[in-house]
């Protein structure tokens, strides 16, 4: 019996011996290099020689410094972001974000699906504000097809999207507090978000990835359940949001930690192509809804909240102001809602003329855009997605050095990146 069965370690010894006399051994991208590592000891330094000067400089430690590998599994990296921090004591000297743990190739998937299917692929990018992911895609395709969207459909789009913006911003409030160690605000803001999300579910059929916008309109008119839920919520929304905010706004510990943290000036912010609330918090009143008007926003009356400080507290307060403006917009939409169809007349199979189209909107995190090229077939020839989270994450390298480990998470949270959109 013992003679016939191979020893369990035979295969293992063979493998280790084959590693040595291998033609590719020692090659910079040899994946098997990682097998040589001791089990259970993870060094954040990549297993290949540095590819760029920056990488070489970052991965050499000076006296008294150490690497701290934060993520991809970490309680507060908002998804699967990995940040290699170079620390001096607890002070962050330098950092290297490592992306791509959530990469799904959405842009390529869209090129292999027809125009209607592409919209469904866009939803899970920024999963907390899914309607804003659909919108630029739909708008770009409409431009390609030269479709006129019915006015009622535009109103419904704005109404549902602004609701989604409030949901996203109130979730931001909770995350912000949770990353600073507060346990309660996240659950209070989830109440807000859940109310809105249930409301949108009765309109769209889904709680999270709504898939509601269609090329040429929306999927279904307003219904009674949605309207009654919306009316219930609108009657106490302002009070409820105010109550949630006072827990943080008047908290000395919270304000002291946030003020002056992760400051960025308007010039740098523009150079880093920041947009949305993060840019407006530095004093640049740039909002796609006013700068490059789309849909029915020119007809609506609302302000662009702005702050000058450019720190975490400003970014937080700005988002809270935006919630109030969104409530104003919703109110106006409900009062001015016209009658009519919610879907343009379109053929079932869409074949736009060859051409290219760009559509950008103001998402809760900034300028969200889609650039699509059509070659005359029923699938987009190329499709590129501009995601604000990705660009905001780039500027993290400018904000964090000099702050403490505890602040890295606060800065990250104040920029409000969604890794689904960053990695696409």
């Amino acid at each position: 019996m013992t003679a016939t069965t191979p020893r369990p370690d035979a295969a293992g010894s063979q493998r280790t011996s084959s590693l040595g006399d291998d033609a590719f051994a020692g090659a910079p991208d040899d994946p098997r290099v990682q097998l040589d590592r001791e089990l259970g000891v993870f060094e954040p330094v990549p297993p290949y020689p540095p590819r760029t000067e920056r990488e070489a400089e970052f991965y050499t430690l000076r006296d008294g410094e150490m690497f701290l590998n934060m993520g991809p599994q970490h309680p507060s990296t908002h998804g699967v972001l990995r940040v290699v921090l170079k620390l001096d004591g607890e002070k962050v000297v330098d950092l290297d974000p490592v992306l791509g743990y959530l990469h799904r190739g959405v842009e390529k998937l869209c090129e292999n699906a027809d125009y209607h299917h592409s919209i469904a692929y866009l939803d899970p990018l920024e999963y907390v504000s899914a309607l804003f992911c659909e919108w630029p895609g739909v708008m770009a395709f409409e431009k390609l097809l030269d479709v006129q969207v019915p006015r009622r459909a535009e109103y419904i789009r704005v109404l549902s999207a602004e609701l989604n913006r409030i949901a996203s911003h109130s979730l931001f409030l909770g995350w912000m507090a949770l990353d600073l160690g507060g346990l309660t605000p996240i659950l209070w803001s989830f109440i807000e978000r859940d109310t809105i999300v249930e409301m949108l579910a009765s309109l769209t059929g889904q709680r999270m990835l709504f898939n509601y916008f269609r090329i040429g309109g929306v999927n279904g008119d307003l219904n009674h359940e949605f309207m009654s839920r919306l009316g219930d919520w609108m009657s106490h929304a302002t009070e409820q949001i105010e109550a949630g905010n006072t827990l943080l706004n008047e908290n000395e510990i919270f304000v002291r930690r946030m003020r002056g943290l992760g400051r960025i000036d308007s010039k740098t912010a523009l150079r880093m192509t920041m947009s949305g609330p993060n840019l407006r918090a530095t004093g640049v009143p740039f909002d796609m809804r006013r700068a490059h008007p789309y849909s029915i926003y020119p007809e609506l009356d609302f302000d662009i909240p702005m702050r000058q400080e450019g720190d975490c507290l400003a970014r937080y307060l700005l988002r809270m102001d935006e919630i109030k403006q969104s409530l104003r917009i919703i109110d106006q939409c409900l009062h001015q809602m016209p009658d009519g169809p919610v879907m343009a007349k379109l053929p079932r199979l869409l074949r736009p003329r060859p051409g290219r189209a760009y559509a950008g909107i103001e998402a809760p995190r900034g300028q969200y855009a889609v650039y699509a090229i059509s070659d005359g077939t029923d699938q987009p020839f190329r499709m590129r997605i501009h995601d604000p989270s990705f660009l905001h994450l780039e500027s993290v390298g400018l904000m964090m050095p000099g702050h403490l480990v505890a602040d890295t998470m606060a800065i990250m949270a104040s920029l409000d990146p969604i890794m689904g959109g960053v990695d696409k």
Binding site: N69, P75, T184, L187
Partner: protein, 448 residues
């Protein structure tokens, strides 16, 4: 032989157990009787001669055993209270209102794999939770729970408390260093910096109180505060009490000073690599610490086991109930009282409501009678036994403070390490020195 084995096979499983156990029990009891008759008197004499040691061993055992239900209770309190503050329901599945969930947590922690990571210094790694746990448990030894109910009445009780609770930082450093994990290391270093810094205002804040009390024995300090609640030291040392509370929060690693285990920054701090019961020890130590810190605050500033009121002697109910004086009547009372009381309490429900059936009325009567008897017994114990009243007041005050800690955890975010250290050295330390000087000057001027 075959007969015996056949008989054995016919036995059921409990039968087989009994077949072995009963003879063993008989032999054991016989041996015990012989041992007691031979050496019983000797053993009693030895114990009586070494009463302090016996007392110490008993106290240590009891205190070690107390910590488990205490931790369970505080964990449950924290889960439930924070849930209510978060507008959640919280635990509600295991036991009434989910009250057994923390017991389930304890069992779960026991059953999990005890894991030592590669590269860890396994000896230090193993002993770190023990040091942390024992450091917090040993401090319970000097806390007076009630008149006569304490582990040891040391004349340097307060000093002992600070010295032993300060040892916990060694355990935290051991855990942080030996885990071979940078998060643990950061947590351990934070713990060292934080606890060593806050030890100073913590100790200085009570020096003013010591000047007033003139003793370091916790028992004596409690006895000094007898009388109405205005005699409590918190009214003579409000600043000291405030500093003590803040510093004690930091000592117990509670929000907003829970930097050592800041889950959103350094995963779980020093406990990152721990699992199973070793993590359980850290977890237990944290909650026992909350209890201990509250208990010490109550002892020092809130009058310990004293009731907040002291009525004149003449008003007090004198109750001398000697059960032996009833003679054989006692048996009748024990036998009859439950039945009579049950019927008495059941009668109105049966008579006044036509919807309640007789057995339902009896059931209600039984429950009410039991409640009545328990209330009577408690009232008798409260009036008749000094230590029952003491422990009731002590626990009430302590758990109000524990609630405050839980409340803070539900409300406040965490401070940053530099803010934490700055607060200790720039504000708390000067404030506690000021408190000390003002107290000393007042004693000199007023002459006590």
């Amino acid at each position: 032989m075959t007969v015996v084995s056949r008989g054995w096979n016919r036995l059921t499983l409990p039968g087989k157990f009994l077949f072995i156990l009963v003879p063993l029990l008989v032999v054991g009891i016989a041996a015990l009787i012989i041992l007691i008759t031979a050496f019983g008197q000797l053993a009693i004499d030895t114990l009586a001669a070494n009463l302090p040691i016996v007392r110490f061993v008993v106290a240590a055992t009891v205190i070690l055993l107390i910590t488990v239900p205490t931790a369970f209770l505080i964990i449950y309190m924290e889960m439930k209270i924070i849930a209510l503050m978060n507008l959640r329901i919280g635990p509600d599945r295991v036991g009434p209102f989910g009250s057994l969930l923390s017991v389930v947590h304890g069992l779960k922690v026991l059953m999990k794999e005890d894991f030592t990571p590669t590269g860890a210094d396994s000896v230090v790694f193993t002993w770190a939770p023990v040091v942390v746990y024992l450091a917090s448990v040993m401090t319970l030894l000097v806390i007076p729970f009630a008149p006569g109910l304490y582990g040891a009445d040391l004349n340097i009780g307060l000093l002992y408390f600070f010295a032993v609770s300060g040892l916990a930082v060694v355990g935290l450093l051991m855990a942080g260093w030996s885990s071979y994990n940078k998060y643990s290391l950061l947590g351990g270093l934070r713990a060292a910096a934080q606890i060593v810094s806050y030890e100073i205002p913590l100790t200085l804040s009570v020096v003013g109180l010591l000047l007033l009390a003139g003793t370091m024995s916790l028992n004596q300090i409690v006895e000094n505060q007898q009388g109405w609640f205005t005699d409590w030291y918190i009214f003579q040392q409000p600043l000291g009490a405030l500093i003590f509370f803040i510093a004690a929060t930091a000592e117990a690693n509670r929000t907003p000073f829970d930097l050592t285990e800041a889950d959103s920054e350094i995963v779980a701090g020093f406990a990152t690599e721990y699992s199973g019961m070793r993590f359980g020890f850290f977890f237990f130590a944290e909650y026992v610490n909350v209890f201990i810190v509250s208990a010490l605050f109550v002892t020092l500033f809130l009058g310990g086991w004293n009731a907040p009121f002291a009525f004149p002697e003449a008003w007090q109910v004198q109750l001398s109930l000697d059960p032996a004086s009833f003679n054989i009547g006692l048996l009748f009372i024990i036998g009859l009282a439950p039945v009579v009381l049950t019927l008495l309490f059941a009668a109105p429900f049966w008579l006044l409501s036509s919807r309640i059936k007789w057995w339902q009325a009896l059931l209600i009567g039984f429950v009410l009678a039991n409640l009545f008897i328990v209330t009577l017994a408690l009232a008798w114990a409260y009036i008749g036994l000094n230590w029952v009243a003491g422990i009731l007041w002590f626990m009430l005050k302590t758990y109000v403070l524990v609630f405050t800690f839980v409340w803070m955890r539900g409300t406040l975010p965490r401070v940053r390490i530099d803010q934490l250290m700055g607060f200790a050295w720039k504000w708390l330390l000067p404030a506690s020195l000021l408190n000390l000087f003002v107290t000393a000057a007042a004693i000199v001027v007023i002459g006590r």
